[in-house]
Amino acid sequence: MRAQLSDDAALAVAGLRKSYGRVQAVRDVSFTVRRGEIVALLGPNGAGKTTTLEILEGFRARDGGMAHVLGRDPGQQSSLRELRERTGLVLQDIAVEPYLTVRETIARQAGYYPAPRGVAEVIGQVGLAGLERRKVRALSGGQKRRLDLALGLIGDPELLYLDEPTTGFDPAARRDAWDLVRHLRASGTTVLLTTHDMEEAQALADRVVLLSGGAVVAAGPPGTLGGRDAERARITFTLPDGYTTADLPLPAAALPPQAAGTGAVAVETDSPTQALYQLTDWALQNGTVLAGLTVDRPSLEDIYLELTSQGAPDGAREEATR
């Protein structure tokens, strides 16, 4: 099995399946993470992100398919200790013993690894400098999350799993965490993270694996996901008073009022330069203006909503709007 993996793959899954009772949480998921790459598993709650991650982490047994992490099978108990030594895990829920200090908590964990990073170094990296002697119970939620991050890093992992790492962070802390993850990649660490935050996926990931209803619905760099770069551009503006869409030189569709204000229309086109010229020319000829004129391509969010609404059952879709 190992032979079919390319040498630069830190992690690979193929045809991964997992059911809880009659619910198929993961069905036929395949993707690869190359060494030194940041890959985001993106998707709404219930899409199968955490289940996939937990199979890779060795917390859950898979029902079928192949999983390889750093050349080992995470489903085998005998691989687990070595895998744990070479990977770092930041789990979704914050859970740390309340009575130890920040330094003690990290130093304890450092003792579990053969070649840990320096405790002070990691404290500085996650932005907890100055709080070394503070008891964990006195930390804020965001500070505890940073401590979690420190615990994931202390073993100097080759591969780091981050399960929704910045949930509960304020915008500044989130940006710091992103910088830290980028810094880790620069030093060669491979990162697999889950998130339902598109901004995070876009800001961090080299590649995004979009999951919905337990299946991969799209995969690729965030800029081209779901053919986003090849999608038609959309020109929107408010229809001038006294005109209808039939008067326009190009076919246009009225937008729903809540989307872009009353009277707004959109023109979808493969050649926005020419379309824009035709529209503005038409407006000048008629002595009017195109109020609120914008040109854009579908955002990652548009793609995300479009793709996840196809594959996902209604329940999962609802949760996605959380």
Binding site: D7, R35, G36, E57, F59, G71, R81, E82, R84, E85, R86, L89, L91, D93, I94, A95, V96, E97, Y99, L100, E104, R108, Q109, G111, Y112, Y113, P114, A115, K135, L151, G155, E158, S187, G188
Partner: protein
């Protein structure tokens, strides 16, 4: 150098004993950092001995206490009680709580092997028990209970009792699923057992003694009272019963223990 470390780590693993010592050290640290639990653990048995001393201090050797003075009877049973408190009760409650709030899953996310985690807990519980017993024997001495002379038999009995009740504590923590219920369940099992086993008062019913003789607490009481007060050696029959209970607890613990919170 950064991306080149593809396979295998050159750094050797820590020695097993070093890992265990590391774990015990931090268990101790967590324990002493929670002053309420620490004080309760040590004050409770001491207060108990003082109360018994105040109530029965004048009762000399009597047939009611099986030919012992009241305090000679109570010092070993309270010693057993304190071992039960730290090895069985507190361990079950602490494990259930750690599982519920996700700390056990965190432990599972590190390379720390399960044996080292439980070894650390066991050593911690035994350390606490040793301090407890030293306090109890010390206070008992103030009431005129002579220091016991068969230390080897006492140490062996305590060691076996502590290991067995730790195993039972882990077993109870494995069977109950939610942390709120843990103290109640642990006490519910223990309290009647303590009563029929003669911890609070000598039992003079032959039938009850025969039944409780097959349950874990009375054999522990008897096995400890021997070398404590009667100057006998190790009490093999009672120790065997205790060991069987410990073994049964260990089997349940190994089969049923879960690291992750969750239903059922």
């Amino acid at each position: 150098m950064t991306t080149a470390t593809v396979t295998g780590r050159p750094a050797p693993r820590r020695h097993n004993l070093g890992l265990l010592a590391h774990q015990v050290r931090y268990e101790q640290l967590s324990f002493w950092r929670n002053p309420q639990s620490a004080i309760f653990t040590f004050v409770f048995p001491v207060v108990f001995v003082i109360i018994i001393g105040a109530l029965f201090g004048g009762v000399t050797k009597s047939s009611y206490f099986g030919g012992l003075s009241a305090l000679q009877y109570y010092v070993p049973t309270i010693a057993v009680l304190s071992v039960l408190g730290s090895c069985y009760g507190q361990l079950a409650v602490a494990l259930a709580a750690r599982r519920q709030n996700g700390i056990l899953k965190r432990v599972r996310a590190t390379p720390l092997p399960a044996w080292a985690y439980f070894g650390g807990l066991l050593a911690h519980c035994m350390l606490v028990s040793v301090i407890d017993i030293a306090l109890i024997v010390g206070v008992g001495r103030l009431y005129g209970v002579p220091f016991p002379s068969h230390w080897l038999a006492i140490a062996a009995t305590l060691m076996l009792g502590a290991v067995s009740f730790c195993a039972l504590g882990v077993a109870v923590a494995s069977v109950i699923s939610n942390a709120e219920a843990a103290p109640a369940v642990a006490q519910l099992v223990l309290f009647p057992l303590l009563f029929v086993s003669g911890t609070y008062m000598p039992i003079h019913s032959a039938l009850l003694n025969r039944i409780s003789g097959w349950l874990p607490v009375r054999p522990f009481n008897e096995a400890l009272t021997g070398p404590f007060a009667r100057h006998a050696g190790a009490d093999w029959r009672h120790l065997a019963v205790l060991a069987v209970w410990g073994g049964a607890g260990a089997v349940v613990a190994v089969r049923r223990f879960r690291w992750e919170p969750g239903a059922g």
